[in-house]
Symmetry: C2
Subunit: 310 residues, 2 copies
């Protein structure tokens, strides 16, 4: 039997132990463990990696602690715009959505785009029309409302400022969730979902729905899900860069992730992190920020969630 | 002095000599020459490569012969949705827009996103709001109306079908325009613009506005603009793949373009082409279709436009 392996993240950034309560820390860790368990159980039952990453990301979307699905931040108009993408390393099939509202699990819609449309990337009202046709679950504004997110927005509403989940002056966290997995068949997959930036305007899109930037999977190399300052991840084509360093330069997973996050991304001024997996189940959790909500579980006995730098 | 070099394309696909009139061929070649002249004149006057590619693409957008700007195809709602992106190889700065309407030159808006915003990628109404704030030129529906495009749309309106500029049963052409350039300072840049697919719905986005997929520029390697079946170009991260083959595997520009278009893209079922340039002014015009509207001009005496396979 092949190795089984699953890794998840719930965003990276300036996550300091000093600004965290014990209660909050436990809540985050529990939410990460829930997502890890849900996805890993599928893998153990013989499910595909694509199903496992979708499931793990759905759990993270359903938690108000993370900026994706329920818990998404407010944009400049006081509503939510969400992005997500998913990629299958066996077929190189992919699906992505951007600027969607009202859909309970954006990652499910990205999966439907991959499986049930001739397209890869749908956005806005058109993507929502497609969601209705394929039977995606919609939720009310009340479902997406979160008091903490609303207060975050009220603080900077009308200032023209925007922030990546948490303010720079306080805790800075890039709010994105993601998962990568290896299944029994030896196939890998990646999924990423985000609620964007608080008070964002102009229909800004980050790296999360961009195949190659925030998300990528290829059985020949690796599956990658990113979180960070999206503009830099787009310019660096970060997720695919990890894959190319492995395929063309022969780097191992860990070396490729280190090179991209600690050198190439920093060189252009970007911060954040990524989770990655290869076809034998090696996992890399790489970030150049103070912390990254993350977890990994394998059939080699690894089972851990962490928040801060080691 | 460094070499000067400019290449452009106006889309690739099943462009057969048998389905082309002499008059039409002359019109296409004149339009390509106009764009080449406009961009190259800037380079000769010492302008930057980013200004030159923007200018060349603007000329192609202004021609109704190409599916970008004026001459954009109709979507399923009988309106126009355009995409564009631009990237500067010196700084790795980039700007992109998607699903915008009414803006005369989408490539100008992509440039404004790069120069005047904190973002890389803006879409829809938000991008149009930004366009108004920075003073982008808007045009009426009448400006964008083209009888030929309208008839194309009427043929398949309401059928649920969509087509890449021209129908598969007739002439199949992937309607996108693009330019790559090398300037006197030794900097390279790339720009790409499209009107999308006739009768497209669901807010479909192709590769043109995706940095790494349809457009990429990096002084260390190459500048690339793509045209083709966008979904496959996204999944293949085509433009950045050319760059990585050069940087990590040591391939020259021509070999890298050949590898990506004739092997890697075909392997996943994608067709189309690209234009690319490197920092010493080598130009590659690679496609796996019957033809590609294209042209190149250098200070080494090259000055040509062509349509079919050699």
């Amino acid at each position: 039997m092949n190795n089984l392996s699953l890794a998840i993240h719930g965003g990276a950034g300036t996550i300091l132990k000093s600004s965290m309560t014990a209660e909050k820390e436990i809540a985050y860790k529990n939410a990460l463990e829930n997502a890890l368990n849900a996805g890993y159980q599928l893998l153990e039952n013989g499910a595909s990696s694509i199903d496992a990453v979708q499931r793990a990301v759905s759990e993270l979307e359903n938690s108000p602690l993370f900026n994706a699905g329920k818990g998404s931040v407010f944009n400049s108009e006081g509503t939510h715009e969400m992005d997500a993408s998913i990629m299958d390393g066996q077929t190189l099939n992919a699906g992505a959505v951007s600027a969607i509202a009202g859909i309970k699990n954006p990652i499910q819609l990205a999966r439907f785009v991959m499986d049930k449309s001739d397209h890869v990337f749908l956005l806005g009202k058109g993507a929502e029309d497609f969601a209705r046709e394929v039977g995606c679950e919609f939720q009310s504004k009340e479902y997406f409302y979160d008091e903490f997110r609303y207060q975050q927005w009220l603080e900077i509403k009308g200032t023209g400022k925007f922030q990546l989940d948490h303010s720079k002056t306080k805790e800075q966290k890039f709010g994105t969730v993601g998962a990568v997995a290896l299944d029994q068949m030896g196939n890998i997959a990646a999924a990423t979902s985000t609620g964007g930036m608080t008070n964002k305007k102009y229909g800004r899109v980050g790296d999360s729905p961009i195949i190659g930037a925030g998300n990528y999977a290829n059985n020949e190399t690796c599956a990658v899900s990113c979180t960070g300052s999206g503009e830099f991840f787009i310019r660096g084509v970060v997720a695919f860069d990890v894959s190319c360093l492995m395929e063309y330069k022969g780097l191992c997973l860990k070396a490729a992730c280190h090179e991209v996050i600690q050198k190439r991304l920093l060189k252009i001024g970007g911060d954040g992190g990524l989770i990655a997996i290869d076809k034998v189940g090696n996992v890399a959790l790489e970030f150049n920020t103070e912390g990254m909500y993350r977890g990994k579980r394998t059939n080699q006995g690894v089972n851990e969630v962490s928040i801060y730098k080691d």
